[in-house]
């Protein structure tokens, strides 16, 4: 009794699932997988973007490992890497306090998450004004009588990466916090009540109840933060264009591609970064699994 025009219930269900999935899958393929596949093929060529593509095998990759600048940019990533742990620590801290009864809970949640909603370019401009010699930070310090602490936050090469990492933490901490909040709120309230009856303090509640329950989310956030710190782009690019010692791996890739029109080499850089992140994520998953 079933036919193409009168499918059975099961088939109808399947059909609906497939139809609904087609749209995102087509988009995923067109805008993610196809470009990555193309980029993979470009990484074996020498190409200026418009002319002929010349096949040169693994030469781009060999070239990458002999370039001194690449080691410099990895050093810059370390600042963001360290910053990401501060970011996660803060996120966990705020998520924990805000999951208990605190006055103005909703306001704080909103205020802490708000930076994540602002467009990256706007954030860049806000902080460019903030870090100017005559900008917000220095002016505030001088008003408070701490004028001696006023610095050239971006022009001083020893400070520039700290300043930019700070901007990054400001921007993304809210996102991590919200993820943690959601996970904490899924813990049953009865457990908390029981622990309070037993006389557990806040720190004990965190260590023995909260942290174990949200392990998967912590793991997710660590992976996101680590891969995020390796592929930092937006904040330093908008604010300093990667100059004065703030150049990151992705900014270097973009520079090679669009300033020097070396698309083959830039593609090779992107592939190397992808592989590196995949390897790191894989390692982290292994590490977390062992503990459990």
């Amino acid at each position: 009794m079933t036919s193409v025009f009168h499918p059975s219930y099961r088939n109808e269900k399947r059909l609906i699932i497939v139809l609904f999935l087609i749209a995102p899958l087509v988009l995923l393929f067109t805008f993610s997988y196809l470009p990555i596949f193309n980029m993979f093929s470009y990484s074996f060529t020498k190409w200026d973007g418009l002319g002929e593509k010349t096949f040169i095998g693994l030469q781009n990759f060999a070239d990458l490992f002999t370039r001194e600048e690449n080691y410099k940019v990895f050093k810059v990533s370390l600042y963001y890497f360290a910053g990401s742990f501060i970011q996660l620590g803060l996120a966990l801290y705020f998520a924990t306090i805000l999951s208990f009864e605190v006055k103005g809970k909703s306001f704080f949640k909103g205020a802490l998450f708000f930076p994540n909603l602002i467009n990256g370019v706007a954030v860049g401009f806000i902080f460019l004004y903030f870090f100017r010699d005559t900008g917000t930070l220095n002016t505030l310090l001088r008003l408070m009588g701490l004028g001696s602490l006023a610095q050239l936050w971006l022009t001083n090469p020893d400070l520039i990466n700290y300043s930019l990492t700070g901007v990054s933490i400001w921007r993304y901490m809210g996102f991590n916090m919200v993820l943690f909040l959601g996970a904490i709120q899924s813990i049953s309230a009865e457990i908390f009540e029981a622990s309070e009856l037993d006389g557990a303090g806040r720190w004990q509640q965190f260590k023995y109840i909260i942290f174990p329950s949200i392990r998967p989310i912590v793991e997710l956030n660590v992976i996101l933060s680590v891969s995020g710190s390796l592929s930092v782009f937006e904040t330093p690019y908008i604010m300093t264009g990667g100059s004065n010692g703030s150049m990151t791996f992705v900014i270097k890739t973009v520079e090679l591609a669009f300033t020097y029109n070396k698309f083959g080499l830039a593609s090779a850089m992107a592939i190397v970064l992808t592989i590196f992140i995949l390897v790191l994520s894989g390692l982290q998953k292994l590490l977390f699994k062992e503990r459990a």
């Binding site: 200026d48 973007g49 418009l50 002319g51 460019l128 870090f131 100017r132 010699d133 005559t134 900008g135 050239l152 971006l154 022009t155 001083n156 090469p157 520039i160 300093t240 264009g241 100059s243 004065n244 010692g245 520079e255 090679l256 669009f258 300033t259 020097y260 029109n261 070396k262």
Partner: protein, 426 residues
């Protein structure tokens, strides 16, 4: 009978005369024009469209102003869809590939009789793009009042005089930046390259670069030119916080006397004058370098008008290009140098004339070497018109890196020599 013939011939005459001066209704279609003049799309270009339609009423012109022009255009040129008329970009595409992207506009030898500056947009005797305007490639835009108040009577003729002048401004006005670097904007650093022929004094210099292994050595023009950039920053003759400068603000600051001068092409004159209370207070002087008593200034074309080789409406596109080149008076309106042979230079450059400045244009390379210098340049990852190595110079001068100016120049020489070897240049 006689009357009939008279009447008919009268009518025919009227129609003929009317047709000669009237519109060309035959040309029709829609053309898309890509332009980098995003600030003129809504005003000046609308006037041009009106005037163009008076002659070609059936052609619809759609403008597309593109902000990051070169990169966006290059990406679009990987498809067939890059407008009907566009501003020509090169390197990439290399001159040998011009025919793949642009419609030939004619033989260079013929067009040269009417238009100048055809070399960068031609290959093998065929021209693919013509620019409606040219500019003095490099010079110094300055605030006359600031210089006068600091006690500077005449424009500096040597680099040492220039340093002395900047110091005088710094001493007299501690809050004024004598020379504003505009380091974050990057292209503002590239503007310095416009002075290279002034320092070289040789129209053929850019071609000679392809044949030397050490163009950045002491005593050579590139070394001399960028040493000024280094020294200005090292001696704190620029703004206090170079990393947070802002181009848009700096125009107003120059107009208001909070900046002494900036190194820019002549196209910037009208932009800053528009912001000044007294436009005549904004002056333009050549880079302070003279060779045997003579000062040279390079004149270079702005982006060229070109036609997409895949355009479906080439006739209409050509009509627009011809309008921009011949009838729009674009160069005069924007105070730039017209590209027609024999045209007069704008009055904003009178100061140059008074100083006896000799205008030079970059000479054509020999046929076999078309695009060679650019090729070596890109291969070396230096980019004479790109900013990374100039940022490196500023950072060294600021003390952000441990390099000295000579370290950087030696490194650039090494890259250049390696690139020359790799492209097989002799």
């Amino acid at each position: 009978m006689k009357r009939k013939i008279l009447l008919t011939s009268l009518v025919a005459l009227v129609l003929l005369v009317g047709g000669l001066s009237a519109q060309d209704k035959n040309l029709s279609g829609t053309i898309t024009v890509l332009t980098h003049h995003t600030d003129m799309v809504d005003n000046l270009f609308q006037d041009y469209i009106k005037a163009f339609n008076a002659k070609y009423p059936n052609v619809k012109v759609e403008l597309e102003g593109i902000t990051d022009y070169a990169t966006t255009a290059r990406t679009r040129m990987n498809t067939d869809d890059y407008g009907d008329v566009l501003m020509m970009i090169a390197n990439p595409p290399i001159p040998a590939d011009f025919a793949k992207f642009y419609e030939p506009l004619g033989q260079k030898a013929t067009l040269e009789k009417t238009y100048k500056f055809l070399t960068p947009s031609s290959f093998n005797g065929v021209t693919y793009g013509i620019s409606p305007n040219a500019n003095v490639a490099g010079g110094i835009l300055y605030n006359k009042q600031v210089f006068k108040d600091a006690g500077i009577k005449n424009p500096p003729k040597t680099i040492d005089e220039f340093y002395a002048d900047l110091k005088a401004i710094k001493t007299k006005f501690p809050d004024v930046a004598p020379l504003y670097m505009n380091y974050p904007s990057k292209w503002t650093l590239n503007a310095w390259e416009g002075n290279i022929l002034t320092v070289a004094g040789d129209p053929d210099y850019l071609n000679k670069l392809a044949h030397m292994d050490d163009p950045f050595s002491p005593g050579k023009p590139l070394y001399t030119l960028y040493k000024v950039m280094y020294d200005v920053v090292k001696n704190k003759l620029c703004e206090n916080d170079p990393l947070t400068s802002d181009w848009e603000l700096s125009k107003q600051m120059l107009a208001d006397g909070k900046i002494g001068c900036m190194v820019l092409g002549s196209w910037a004159i009208s932009q800053v004058r528009a912001l000044a209370k007294d436009p005549e207070n904004i002056g333009y002087m050549p880079f302070p370098y003279s060779i045997k008593g003579k000062i040279y200034a390079q004149v270079a074309p702005d982006y060229q008008e070109a036609i997409n080789v895949h355009s479906k409406n080439k006739a209409a596109a050509k009509a627009w290009v011809d309008y921009m080149l011949d009838d729009s008076n674009f160069a005069v309106t924007t105070l730039s140098i017209p590209t027609k042979v024999g045209a007069k230079f704008p009055s904003v450059l009178d100061a140059f004339t008074n100083l006896g400045v000799i205008y030079i244009e970059a000479k054509d390379p020999p046929k076999a070497e078309e695009g060679l210098t650019d090729k070596i340049d890109k291969e070396a990852e230096i980019g004479l018109w790109n900013e990374p190595w100039k940022q490196r110079i500023v950072e060294a001068a600021l003390g952000s890196s441990k390099e000295t100016y000579d370290d950087i120049m030696k490194d650039l020489n090494a890259h250049w020599a390696k690139a020359r070897a790799s492209v097989g240049a002799k």
